[in-house]
Symmetry: C2
Subunit: 196 residues, 2 copies
């Protein structure tokens, strides 16, 4: 027994959460069972409860970890120098890399947040809405500064966020196209639609 091995910088709980993200991505939160998760970890289901509070806690951990990563990066951007164009490009590139490097967790946060329990659900949505608003504010500033076209900034931001989110379809094309080309082409495509 004692099969759950913590990683270098990961506690046993972190290992469980990471496996949960992979499982939730594959089967969806509701269809994923604690028994399956346990099996992936080489353990019986009740053993998990020595380390976590319950299934819903796993989803909370995943969703808020992702939300925090994006919010934290946005804060460093907001307090850094640069034109709105370079700032927006940095954000887009961060989204793309998060999608490629933390696929399981980002995917789950994007698709399964709906199954969060209150008050976590409301909290998550508020945080998400706040993030969007700060991005929209950045685009508005860029429009006033004459850097961006005078499109509706809400449309611009949601289009960009959606396009980046769609990178989930690229797990299958990954073999055909390098990450660098993908990132550059997508940044180019999105920004040329918005830059004046």
């Amino acid at each position: 027994m004692a099969k759950i091995k913590p990683g270098k910088n990961a506690s046993k709980k972190d290992v469980i959460i990471q496996n949960a993200a992979a499982l939730f991505k594959k089967k969806g939160y509701s269809s994923a069972s604690m028994r399956e998760l346990a099996e992936a970890l080489g353990v019986e289901a009740p053993s998990l409860y020595n380390h976590i509070g319950g299934k819903s806690e796993l989803l909370q951990a995943i969703c808020f970890k992702v939300a925090h990563a994006f919010t934290a990066y946005l804060e460093t951007i907001e307090t850094s120098a640069g034109t709105q164009v370079t700032l927006l490009e940095k954000i887009v590139r961060f989204h793309i890399r998060m999608m490629l490097n933390n696929f399981d967790e980002v995917y789950v946060a994007n698709h399964e947040w709906k199954h969060l329990k209150e008050p976590y659900l409301s909290n998550f949505l508020i945080q998400r809405r706040g993030y969007e608003k700060r991005l929209i504010a950045l685009v508005e500033t860029g429009i006033v500064a004459g850097a961006f076209k005078n499109n509706n900034p809400c449309v611009s931001v949601l289009t960009i966020l959606s396009a980046v989110r769609g990178l989930e379809f690229w797990q299958q094309h990954k073999k055909n196209i390098s990450s660098q080309i993908l990132e550059d082409d997508m940044v180019h495509l999105l920004l040329n639609g918005i830059i004046k």
Copy 2:
């Protein structure tokens, strides 16, 4: 009893499917129960089985109805005249309108197809992949014709499809922005990133 009322052009089965789409969208396929669906229709759960074969059949009907709608439209486009720019614009506008007018079903097809059973799952994915390939071919033709920038056509198509798919976030903003502005701005934003 006899509560399930067919609509003008909708059989009783169609009514059930429509309600199922709304429920699957709200709760996800796995979390949605047949008892909930029955309640929404003012009926007990076993009564549903007089009209449908089972829960999975409902998901199949929704997913393939949506897939067929997109494929059918693409066929009319492929056999119609026009520059690649105008053809692509028509397709984008069709996607946007499908998203706005058939939100429940398109949302479910986009999010819950993973729970299709074989062989429907494989069928759906093949159909979807074929649709993407035909769109990519259209963009490639446009590149050769000098109408589109020489970006990777896969990246362009998947970016466009993803951006349009993100319209699901607009159900909440609908009040603030008219459908027409939304459609025009998004088309403008996406095409200007790709048109030479």
